[in-house]
Subunit: 552 residues, 2 copies
Amino acid sequence: MHSLIRTDTSINLPIARVQVDDEEDEENKRLAEKPRLVIIGGGWGAMGVLQRLRPGDFHVTVISAETFTTFTPLLPSAAVGTVQVRSLIEPIRKIIARLRGHFVQGKAVDVDMKGRLLEVEISTDGRREHVYIPYDRLVVAVGSTSSTHGVPGLENCFQLKTISDAQAIRRRVMDNFELASLPTTTPEERKRLLSFVVCGGGPTGVETAAEIHDFCQEDIFNYYPKICREEVSIHLIQSREHILNTYSEEISKYAERKFERSNVELLTSARVSAVTPDSVIYTSRDPKTGKTEQHTIPTNFVLWSTGIAMNPFTKRLCELLPNQAHRKAVETDAYLRVKGAPKGTIYAIGDCATIETSAADHFMELVEQSDKNKDGKIDFEEFEDMVHRIKRKIPMAESHLTQVRELFQMYDSNADDSLSLNELMQLLKDLGNKITSLPATAQVASQQGKYLGSLFTRIARHRREFKAQDVLPSERDEVVSKPFRYFHLGSLAYIGNSAVFDFGKFSLMGGLGAMYAWRSVYWNEQVSARTRALLMIDWIVRGIWGRDLSRL
Amino acid sequence: MHSLIRTDTSINLPIARVQVDDEEDEENKRLAEKPRLVIIGGGWGAMGVLQRLRPGDFHVTVISAETFTTFTPLLPSAAVGTVQVRSLIEPIRKIIARLRGHFVQGKAVDVDMKGRLLEVEISTDGRREHVYIPYDRLVVAVGSTSSTHGVPGLENCFQLKTISDAQAIRRRVMDNFELASLPTTTPEERKRLLSFVVCGGGPTGVETAAEIHDFCQEDIFNYYPKICREEVSIHLIQSREHILNTYSEEISKYAERKFERSNVELLTSARVSAVTPDSVIYTSRDPKTGKTEQHTIPTNFVLWSTGIAMNPFTKRLCELLPNQAHRKAVETDAYLRVKGAPKGTIYAIGDCATIETSAADHFMELVEQSDKNKDGKIDFEEFEDMVHRIKRKIPMAESHLTQVRELFQMYDSNADDSLSLNELMQLLKDLGNKITSLPATAQVASQQGKYLGSLFTRIARHRREFKAQDVLPSERDEVVSKPFRYFHLGSLAYIGNSAVFDFGKFSLMGGLGAMYAWRSVYWNEQVSARTRALLMIDWIVRGIWGRDLSRL
């Protein structure tokens, strides 16, 4: 029976639902066997899971350090008051109320995988204690911190990952303008106070630089009579040759031209070597002499947004597992299950996770399964079987495995119409290098969350049949679902009152029209009608009365 | 010439304006002689002054620790998220932009009255320095702090005077509910976390208690499944017999009945003796035995709002002056000029100031001026003259000086048709005791501010004539204006989804209708159209989606 189900991997199981006479008894049973689903995190990933769950299927508990979920793509706007922070957040309790779930405000610090217990540190209002929360399935969606790249002095920088970050930035920006307006401030000090430096040319960095620029143009110069336009400087330091390098070249160029016109100074191919409390030190190569030169920018505001790194819980999780070697995130299989953890118990999604891309890691297993005649070589027929297996294990490899014959011949260096194990290993390694991991974006996290939510809902729907047919919980994922697949819906960024879109095949950029299109996309992505309305109101209020200059 | 003007105290001076041919020269002169007006504070008083000034009349500088002005009457609503804090504030820079004025974010710490220099401490972003700001006229509108009444442990209490206070309260309230929801919290601890204590039965205390109650009823119980209605307790401790005792008796009773029905526990005639980190200790007299008993309420939230006290700058100002003896505020004359300071240079308005009520302080002066025949006694004709002088010095005495003949006869104990100096002194002392000082409300501060703004504008308008006729700056106030008079426009308070109004002669109370009337009054009092719109939006958003439960 068991194997009968397992061969069917389609989404709709062809099993008739068991009919019971005593509905109430049924309900009681359901309650008693309701598994505990614990979700760590309150971001895009976690919300994605919650969206797709049905009430009554699981005992749901969400653990998050903040009581709300944040609409992160607009954090750069909130950092200068273009939108209000309250418009970007939605209380998690209001979201889980639908599922009659529970919420614990705390930070996950450790996990006992054998006992299926999550250790949570609660430190609210001066109280600090540890509680242990049992789980049947655990979803790790804890996000990431900023990568340091070993640069000293990053404690002098701001990050922009949370609402508190946006609030702190807004406070510092307002303080800088107030201090620069004081009669006793020296000209050098004014210059430093009015110098804004952004390190990192990704969407967050670019959008923040653009927002600061717009803020000065549209509001500051009107209300701070002592501040001149020429005194304000904005620098964007990028280690690569272009900004927005994950976007299409056109968009990258458009953004660069836009900044050039608006006096945001772009420093590309420049590397920050240190940040001090009152300056940023960076090196760049002189294009003529080829020599590396060191420069210093005096500043009182530095934003650091140069890629992601693991936060403490993700680090701890990786320590506990034998085969976790990824530097920036915890590795999962194609079903988003954390590699090395008991199957079907721990999942990881969003910025803290990365789906394995290396087929070479499965070398032995693949050879064993596909080398039917056990001759230690892989002929073409066997290779076709192997490609099928690789595609199932690593769906992201699919686009690189379309021309199987060509691939086979390319690596069959001695042309004996079969691949030796050495040749095969080389092929798998090269294949792994070709696959790019999914980017650390809200879109990926949200899709992964929805995938898991749907998967859990399907498992819950078939719980009875699984029981009857002795399908272990650890084996149910593959039965009800295909591996996770990411559908890129386009990227967008907002630069100086215009929006740029990247839909892979074509890109779009423009002025007011594009901006409104962009905004409507954002509205539809929002979690609740409430925040959608609030955002719309913010934009109208700002349109009429300008940004709020109050320092809260 | 000089005396000619001074005898005319009406508002419109009958002096023709000097005509000049060279308008531009005139303008330059005006600029050169533009006096420096410095306003300390960013509340109702300061905004009142700014509202009535004309651009170009003064070099205006506003000094305030916060960059915004606050709509204080709605702070209790902001403390639980019924309205957003951002909707209650307006950047001061946007208000002074009309006057092309300057803003300095700092705290006044000292004043050199001879050199006309104000010492301001600036402590933004870790920087702390002192600057000296010169003034020709200085308006002190620094507000007040909460009175301690010598109760120990007030560091464990919240105040509700600023936006930061409201934010801190909101954070604590949300923390309490989150902590009470934790699986590890003991029943006793839950009881303490869900116990809210308000000390002080004035409008702030009453409204805050009502807002916390509504918040629990309308939002908390829906989203915190672990919290039962019976576990939440709200206590209001009032030292007097009734709450809202500055309002009419009807209103006070209405509020008490309302609280009784809604399980807000009123503890009247109770005195707080100490506040500890986890409880409030109070004493009350047993109505039967007459014995004083001590009680303890375990709690994690205490609001302290029991009257006002001087803040450090007001204290310093009083130290510098010889005749300032008032305990709670700096005393001014009827023109709001600080008593003892060089005339026409320092004014004080709002909660930090009180207008003198004691005619006895002017005893010697009054006798000298009114005792025409110098016989050391005051006959009725002389007394009539004196009453006229008292009314001008202390306008608030007016309502007690209507029946002059009766008053005269009452104190003329030996019926010799004249008052001896002893009899007169007794009369003046009794008169002073009858006058109640103005309450420390937004309405008073705002009217005082507007009065000063109008007064300064009139002085500026007549500056040239004053110069031509050698009227000293210190003497101009009396020339252009009558003393300040307060017009009570009614008080209102919001209790449990209904509003109570007190218009002196009649009072009003009721449900939804009254509440909307109340809200429209508040909207019209708002400083800017922007905050008015934001407040309206807040009320609509809250009506549809409830309060925001996020802890920021």
